[in-house]
């Protein structure tokens, strides 16, 4: 469904990704893990078109994404829940969801989509007239995910959805990722929380200093000695 072939990217003359190749099949949930500064967010930005790649090929459902601007990539069916949520804090919850449904086809289905998102997050229904900036961290993450789902994407990119949340809420976020999978979305998720993310994904890639060091099924990675030592403190 999504494929990256030796993609390199960075900021100005600085390179943050080197020859990254990656495949995601329809219906899969894939994790991207790695230390701070590894280039995980950069990878997500390149896929969603927030950042242009230096070289390499990106394709989604057989169609090249390489030269598309971000707003065309959403149209193609990839929604990105960015790092730090990036909500419109001075707009209400409902207005944030409206913006998520900006695309013409999403606008037409706004009523049905928003009902679905509110059913997924009943909390947001209570808070829909509240300014997004005044919500708790967990609630804000719900808005960020809900906003991305409003465009009715086929694939969801999530960049550290559990960052900055209390352990109990982190648990809720991972349950949510499970539910989103069950709804049939393809998911690519970046996480620091290695132990927990390996419970919800099928496969994962380990990224270090801009390169893919390791990849495999969740079960394989869980028992990989190098991962256990460096990332799970076992």
């Amino acid at each position: 469904m999504l494929s990256l072939r030796s993609v390199s990217a960075g900021y100005g003359s600085f390179r943050a990704l080197f020859d990254v190749s990656l495949e995601v099949a329809p219906g899969e949930a894939i994790g991207v893990v790695g230390p701070n500064g590894a280039g995980k967010s950069t990878l997500m930005r390149v896929i969603s078109g927030m950042l242009r790649s230096f070289s390499g090929e990106l394709a989604f459902e057989g169609r090249s994404l390489t030269h598309l601007p971000a707003y065309r990539i959403v149209e193609a069916g990839i929604a990105h829940v960015p790092e730090h949520r990036r909500l419109f804090s001075k707009l209400t919850v409902e207005e944030n969801l409206r913006i998520g449904a900006f695309l013409p086809q999403a606008r037409r289905n706004y009523a049905e989509r928003s009902e679905w998102v509110y059913a997924l997050f009943p909390r947001l229904l209570e808070r829909r007239r509240q300014l997004a900036g005044t919500l708790s961290g967990g609630e804000q993450q719900m808005v960020a995910i809900g906003r991305a789902l409003m465009s009715k994407p086929k694939m969801l990119l999530m960049d550290e959805p559990s960052a900055g949340l209390a352990p109990l809420v982190v648990e809720q976020v991972f349950n949510l990722v499970r539910r989103i999978r069950e709804e049939g979305f393809t998911v690519l998720i970046v996480e620091q929380n290695l132990q927990q993310v390996l419970e919800v994904v099928d496969r994962a890639y380990l990224l270090e200093v801009g390169r893919i060091r390791l990849s495999g099924s969740a079960a394989e990675l869980k028992t990989n000695p190098m991962i256990q030592q460096a990332y799970m403190g076992l």
């Binding site: 707003y71 990105h80 409206r98 606008r107 906003r147």
Partner: protein, 284 residues
């Protein structure tokens, strides 16, 4: 209360409506695109000339001429964005100020070249209304009413429509807008058209009260900028309130002293307030 003071206050409120409209337009442009159209009042001047020629010279009915002018100035706004603003969007604010400031002189000179420095009047005489002993000009009342309707329409647009919400969102996070499927360039063009249309509406209302000449923009431009800064640049509600504050200072000052002194008072008030509340009147 002194009947003439009351009349001055009412006239102040009526003037405030048109100034508020200009402040809304300028704030909208600044809030969404992050540039200041220094030549905003000159767009109003262009609109006034359009009505003068269409109605006064070609004899179009005033309503149709006004409508054409609103569309015409909206078109000028789009042109201004495409030709001047869009190529320098990423450059330093001072360059943007110089570019739109240059447009001010360009438009003034162009008008002088084309139409000379004559004062032109559309020759429409609207009646004066009498309430008890108070006299109010119908054209001012009309201008106030239309300005309020324009402001309400803008409010509804910004709060109810997808485009309006996107315009409010874009100032908060430009980068993330792309992820929402929003093409920034399109939003900028639409904003420029709406900003231009507001200047066009103001032109329709001002042409009923004032003669047109190439430098008429100087009568509204500086006061509009003061109002926007006073209300907090980009703050729509602040600008709206500040417009009525400033127009009252001018009206009441004009009653007690003279109209020239009242403008001096308005400037002094502005400068003093900038020392006390540099973030603007309504900033928290």
């Amino acid at each position: 209360m002194d009947i003439f003071l009351l009349e001055a206050i009412i006239n102040g409120i009526l003037l405030g409506g048109v100034l508020a409209l200009l402040a809304l337009g300028l704030n909208l442009i600044f809030g969404v695109i992050d540039v200041v159209w220094i030549c905003y009042a000159e767009l109003v001047m262009c609109g006034m000339y359009m009505i003068f020629w269409l109605h006064g010279f070609f004899g179009w009915p005033i309503l149709i001429a006004s409508f054409a002018a609103i569309l015409g100035v909206a078109g000028l706004g789009v042109l201004l964005h495409l030709l001047v603003i869009s190529p320098i969007l990423g450059s330093a604010p001072i360059n943007q100020l110089l570019a739109t400031g240059g447009m001010l002189f360009f438009l003034q000179s162009l008008a002088t070249l084309l139409f000379g420095t004559d004062f032109r009047n559309i020759g429409l005489r609207l009646p004066i209304i009498e309430f008890g002993d108070i006299f109010i000009s119908y054209s001012r009342l009309l201008a106030f009413g239309a300005a309020l309707i324009g402001a309400v329409a803008l409010y509804l647009f910004l709060s109810r429509t997808y485009l309006g919400i996107a315009m409010r969102a874009i100032a908060q996070d430009r980068e993330v807008m792309g992820l929402m499927g929003v093409d920034q360039r399109r939003i900028y063009l639409i904003t420029s058209a709406v900003g231009g249309a507001l200047a066009g509406l103001a032109a329709c209302l001002l042409v009923l009260q004032y003669d047109v000449h190439p430098f008429i923009g100087l009568s509204f431009g500086p006061i509009t900028f003061m109002i926007c800064v006073l209300g907090g640049l980009g703050n729509m509600i602040g600008g709206f309130v500040a417009a009525f504050v400033m127009s009252q200072i001018i009206a009441i000052g004009g009653y007690y002293f003279s109209i020239e002194i009242s403008y001096v008072l308005a400037f002094v008030f502005f400068i003093v307030l900038m020392f006390i509340r540099p973030q603007g009147l309504l900033a928290r």
